[in-house]
Symmetry: C2
Subunit: 199 residues, 2 copies
Amino acid sequence: MKSDRKSQIIQTAAKLFREHGYNSVSMRDLADKLGIKAASLYNHIKSKEEILAEIIMDLAFDFTKHIDAVEQKEISIIDKLKEIIQMHVQTTIYKTDSLACMNKEWKHLGEEKQEIFLELRGKYEAKFLQMIKRGIEKGELDMKNAEITVFSILSTLRTLYHWYSNQSVIKEQELINTLQHNLLFGIVAVETAHKINLK
Amino acid sequence: MKSDRKSQIIQTAAKLFREHGYNSVSMRDLADKLGIKAASLYNHIKSKEEILAEIIMDLAFDFTKHIDAVEQKEISIIDKLKEIIQMHVQTTIYKTDSLACMNKEWKHLGEEKQEIFLELRGKYEAKFLQMIKRGIEKGELDMKNAEITVFSILSTLRTLYHWYSNQSVIKEQELINTLQHNLLFGIVAVETAHKINLK
DNA sequence: GTCTATAACGCGATAGAC
DNA sequence: GTCTATCGCGTTATAGAC
């Protein structure tokens, strides 16, 4: 297992990478934050890139495991989507820095790691799309273009950390409820929607 | 006005910055792409950072001007939101690289430029929020939390370029229509929404 | 306006003393 | 496990010839 020191390095790095970007954070910056010299870092990690890979890959596998579990459940598509939204919100709250690194810095992974990451990400999106399409078949959902919907929902969930870090007061459950409602049911008042007769 | 060569440098830089990130693109890379030597760039631009500033600030002012114009119009809030969505989609399509730079690389602007950018961005979000709140007052809109709604819609619109660049077939108008519908009216089928009785 | 040459500096990573 | 010292390389930017 990881030594405590290694985890500490990775967590500190995640925070710095998130704030300033992978390329803008030097090993000297990271060492300073930890109160040691840059050379000492190499007793715990092999390279700067290894740090990034540990941050990102762990989280990428978490997402994969979660959507696989949700896929298996025997509940409505809407409830499946709600569970996925909830998982993204919780990851945003409890693993903010790692999530930001994953979304912003994956291009700086080495070739092999990047390939694995993109495969995981692609499969995640494909499973999400399948869920949406199944929802349309079952009559639970209704939209013009399932692909755009997948992108639209995921882009909100993926960048939630941008916005969340500026908020101090909002409660986890309120955030989950509001996003579930907005993303699934929209924001236009029912009576207005009827009048417009678009739906 | 800008010399043709300068515009060419800025456009090429925008594309490279978007693809590899500001820090990962060296002046040599940029010069190579233009078929000259790195030193020659400095006959046209003062610094690497100046290039980034030109890319970003122009676009930031475009967005500000647009929302100001929409604000003045005497149309419904829903129509105002539709116009804003349309403007974001068109910027995504016709100024893809600059938009990507603005969203991903603004942290690498110098201190003063960054301050101006953040002020413009903050005011844009404030105006968007005011529109949403006015929509609720007028009974056109209905949601739990206007702030989350602003974030949610803007995050979809701001990251649209991620997804759009992988698509070759979708037509501009279809993209505009689908996003307007999803973001405003949601994706759940009307009958299902009634059954769930959440709305 | 482009070139060659180079200054001045910061980077990731290593060697070896303690 | 942390330190000092340093290597080798890449970076932005400038000086001056053509």
